[in-house]
């Protein structure tokens, strides 16, 4: 018999650092609604995978960047969690319930979402999508990972747009399963994890975090290394650009068009498979957040 305890036990055994099971929640935006993916959904199961903090330390001391992108981002999302989800999903479907696997979709934006994902070389908004029948949302439905994590009691969206977990801070990545299995659910997270201290704002070399949250286009440019703290930057970078100084000092404001123009100039380290860009800002926002959460900042 499929129980919540069994699922949590199996998740731990297969490598998840945390697992929480939430009731399917009310979602105003049908394009984000888990019930539009599985109409009779009863629960959403959340899984978090810790990114070893040693990887962040190597970026913090300026010695190595690519391990974060290859192992901490690309591998965790595209291999580790996919294999995990298939195994967990198989276990649920073996008991006769549906298991709708929800991994991150890094390069797609739902219709109307003008933001981007700084972790990939570019994103595509599904602008031509149409609903397939009356009452249906425009595809793709992509759930809000922040809301889902909160429903599962795992964490909440922090000021810098990362989900913050009480134990692991922002050093964690997530995936979910929407299911019609009648599982005992955990309580949603009610306590505050992100206290809006602003340390992430201060740490971002590109001033991409504001009191209103993350400016994803601004973040995407500095994530990829536009700031002068980038150890791979040479004098040749944007040599004849009229705004070079402003840009490399993190003072220029980017929108989608200007960000995409600058992307072409940023070839500091290779992209990985599936278009993940090398993270050269060193995730200073996440590191500052973590240090604040453990009382160092």
């Amino acid at each position: 018999m499929l129980t919540s305890d069994l699922i949590k036990q199996k998740a731990k055994q297969l490598g998840a650092s945390v697992c929480g099971i939430g009731r399917v929640y009310e979602e105003e935006n049908p394009q984000r609604d888990p019930r539009m993916i599985l109409p009779n959904a009863k629960a959403i199961i959340g899984f978090g995978f810790a990114v070893p903090k040693g990887i962040y330390k190597a970026m913090e001391n300026g010695s190595q960047y690519y391990t974060y992108t290859t192992l901490g981002v690309k591998y965790e999302d595209e291999e580790m969690m996919e294999i995990f989800l298939l195994k967990m999903g198989g276990m649920i479907e073996n008991e006769g319930y549906d298991a709708c696997l929800q991994k991150s979709i890094p390069n797609l934006r739902i219709k109307g979402d003008k933001a981007t994902n700084p972790e990939v070389k570019d994103t595509y908004e599904l602008i031509h999508a149409e609903a397939v029948a009356p009452g249906k949302p425009v595809p793709d439905v992509i759930i809000d990972f922040g809301k889902a994590a909160k429903a599962c009691g795992l964490g909440e969206m922090g000021l810098n747009g990362k989900i913050v977990n009480k134990k692991y801070g922002p050093f964690m990545r997530y995936c979910f399963i929407i299911t019609d299995a009648p599982l005992d659910c955990d309580e949603p997270l009610t306590e505050t994890v992100c206290d809006k201290c602003g340390k992430c704002m201060e740490a971002c070399p590109g001033h991409a975090v504001t009191e209103n949250g993350l400016d994803t286009w601004q973040c995407s440019v500095y994530y990829k290394g536009a700031h002068k703290s980038n150890p791979f930057m040479t004098e040749e970078f944007l040599k004849n650009h009229p705004n070079r100084e402003q840009i490399i000092n993190g003072e220029f404001r980017f929108d989608a068009d200007s960000a995409r123009e600058i992307y072409k100039e940023m070839k500091f380290l290779p992209d990985t498979q599936w278009g993940y860009s090398a993270c050269i800002c060193g995730k200073k926002c996440d590191i500052a957040c973590y240090r604040h959460l453990i009382g160092e900042l």
């Binding site: 810790a50 070893p52 001391n61 010695s63 591998y75 380290l269």
Partner: protein
């Protein structure tokens, strides 16, 4: 957790995630200016994980019957799927126990050198001169972890699998009991690896010319490449030297030759398909097997018949 128990837990988890050999090097085995301390100054132990490359993945090229399985399964899948899983799971477990762990895999497309290459990936996918991206010396670290010894052609030789292994590491501040360094006893400098290379990329002292290797790894020797059309390299004055493996390349001529090798598709992640089938390693393995010094035994020897070869006359 007691360090003996922690070590046992590391070994068990690594093996559960496909590692075949696990070794431990204390920080004292590394020079003070070693890259490991730039990466993680608090490093107390380096954990080495070696993964066997299944002998069967070399079989297709040995027989001249199938080529893609070696690159996809023995190179790409191991480097990009299997080994990262073990690295992350062991690292996560160490951090769960309160330590810091920094996994180290090869970054195949990044190098500090300005004019070198990595034969396993497309030369134009390599980012050179990236000195700010610290990378450890994999072979030296493997030896310090007690995974095996250095072979003549600068590869790791293990007691179990000879040169048929790939490996990666975890730097951690956990103190774990060390593994003994292996006293070299496998490589007898027989030179079979040198003779086995279809492109003469291995020098008298065992050094490997990466551009020479890249050209012939990718299949420039027509006598060992069943996909090469008779008119290959038609624009090259020294085409028969290239096809017979006698040409001595420079970085520039190597790039020109590689640009004309279109006979077989690459794999994902910029990996190029190996047409030589790592014949240096195979020749080494065959020699070690003949000497009966490897601890992993098979029912049948790897080499079952003389190596096949086309004639260079076919390309005249």
């Amino acid at each position: 957790m007691d360090k003996k128990l922690l070590k046992e837990k590391v070994i068990a988890l690594a093996k559960e995630n496909s590692a075949d050999i696990v070794g431990f090097a204390p920080a004292e085995r590394f020079e003070k200016d070693s890259p490991i301390f730039r990466l993680l100054p608090e490093t107390k132990t380096v954990i080495g994980l070696a993964f066997r490359v299944l002998r069967g993945t070399y079989r297709g090229i040995e027989e001249g019957s199938t080529y893609y399985q070696y690159t996809t399964m023995a190179v790409e899948n191991m480097e990009e799927t299997i080994m990262p899983m073990a690295l992350l799971k062991v690292s996560m477990m160490l951090e769960e126990e309160g330590f810091t762990a920094l996994p180290q895999r090869r970054h195949q497309q990044i190098m500090a050198e300005e004019n070198s290459t990595n034969p396993e990936v497309a030369y134009d996918a390599v980012y050179r001169g990236r000195t700010a991206e610290t990378q450890i010396d994999f072979l030296d670290t493997a030896i310090k972890c007690g995974l095996g010894e250095k072979g003549f052609h600068n590869v790791l030789l293990t007691d179990e699998y000879g040169p048929m292994v790939r490996y990666c590491f975890i730097l951690t501040d956990a103190i774990l009991d060390e593994s003994p360094i292996v006293e070299p006893h496998l490589c007898d400098k027989c030179g079979e690896c040198k003779k086995g290379c279809p492109g003469h990329a291995i020098a008298e002292d065992g050094g490997v010319d990466p551009w020479q290797c890249a050209v012939y790894y990718n299949g420039a020797n027509g006598t060992k490449n069943p996909f090469m059309p008779p008119e290959a390299f038609a624009d090259f004055d020294d085409r028969l030297e290239i096809i017979s493996g006698e040409a001595k390349v420079t970085p520039e001529t190597a790039k020109a030759i590689l640009d004309k090798i279109y006979f077989y598709p690459p794999a994902q992640h910029a990996y190029q398909c190996s047409i030589c089938g790592r014949n240096c390693d195979v020749a080494c393995y065959v020699h070690l097997e003949e000497k009966d010094v490897l601890t992993k035994k098979f029912r049948e020897p790897f080499r079952k018949r003389p190596e096949w070869k086309f004639s260079v006359e076919d390309f005249k």
